[in-house]
């Protein structure tokens, strides 16, 4: 069974819900346990909200991985203002908005791999993976 990559444009809080639903559906088809499905969907919710809060618009790609090891890869991309101090943004409790400052560090905690690149004035890319255990 092939699992199709999902691409979700993120422009408003309604799209955050859409991203969560699409992610959970894909994680289910890859074979993740219901606990892992929720962890992955929650991580996506956090980074999708970061896009809406800080960048206003962007996109999230959810793709199955199946090269020897199965898993799911999520790429969140935006053309927002970028993050000036990445290490600070990854600190728990740090926020410049109405959030809890859980977004990036929270997503990192829920996934197996987490990588972020950001250019001020250009945007941010978050890449994260979770493997089927």
């Amino acid at each position: 069974m092939t699992v199709d990559t999902r691409h979700i444009p993120i422009r408003s809080d309604v799209d955050i819900v859409e991203a969560r639903v699409a992610t959970r559906a894909l994680a289910t088809r890859v074979g993740f346990s219901s606990t892992d499905q929720v962890l992955i969907a929650t991580a996506v919710s956090e980074i999708a909200r970061n896009i809406v809060e800080y960048a206003l618009s962007g996109e999230i790609l959810v793709a199955p991985m199946d090269s020897g090891r199965k898993g799911v890869e999520i790429i969140a991309r935006d053309d927002g203002p970028g993050i000036v101090d990445l290490s600070k943004a990854l600190e728990e409790g740090f926020t410049t908005r109405r959030g809890l400052g859980m977004g990036l560090p929270g997503a990192r905690r829920l996934m197996d791999e987490f990588d972020i690149t950001s250019k001020v004035g250009r945007g941010t890319v978050v890449r994260m993976r979770k493997w089927l255990s």
Partner: protein, 117 residues
């Protein structure tokens, strides 16, 4: 989607029916804070059984909701947090603070009956 709020005696029961956007959650907060006064309710039960994700925003909004309701003279019980959702919340370090929780609606009503309001 607006969350239906049912009045039952001294209590209000908000049964979330589907995944909620941030706006829906804020609307629920506002609706409950307002209706607690309108119906002079002593307690609010929010049933989150259908929510399969409770991220930092949802958790904070529910905590704020309980705080607003308390300031209006009533207590809140959150019921129906699913086991996977509870696990994810713990992993994320999310807490509901001193907000009451119960397994389901039945236990929520029982708990509410014993609260000093």
């Amino acid at each position: 989607m607006r969350v239906p709020i049912l009045k039952q005696g001294n209590y209000l029961i908000a049964s979330i029916q589907s995944a909620l956007s941030d706006e829906d959650l804020i609307q629920l907060h506002d609706d409950l804070a307002q209706r607690v006064g309108k119906y002079r309710s002593k307690g609010v039960i929010v049933d989150v059984t259908v929510l399969d994700v409770m991220d930092s925003f949802a958790t904070r909004t529910l905590r704020d909701l309980a705080q607003s309701v308390r300031l209006r003279g009533a207590e809140t019980v959150i019921v129906g947090i699913q086991p996977e959702v509870a696990f994810a919340m713990v992993q994320l370090g999310l807490e509901l603070g001193n907000v009451h929780t119960a397994l389901d609606l039945e236990e929520g009503l029982e708990l509410m009956g014993g609260l000093p309001v």
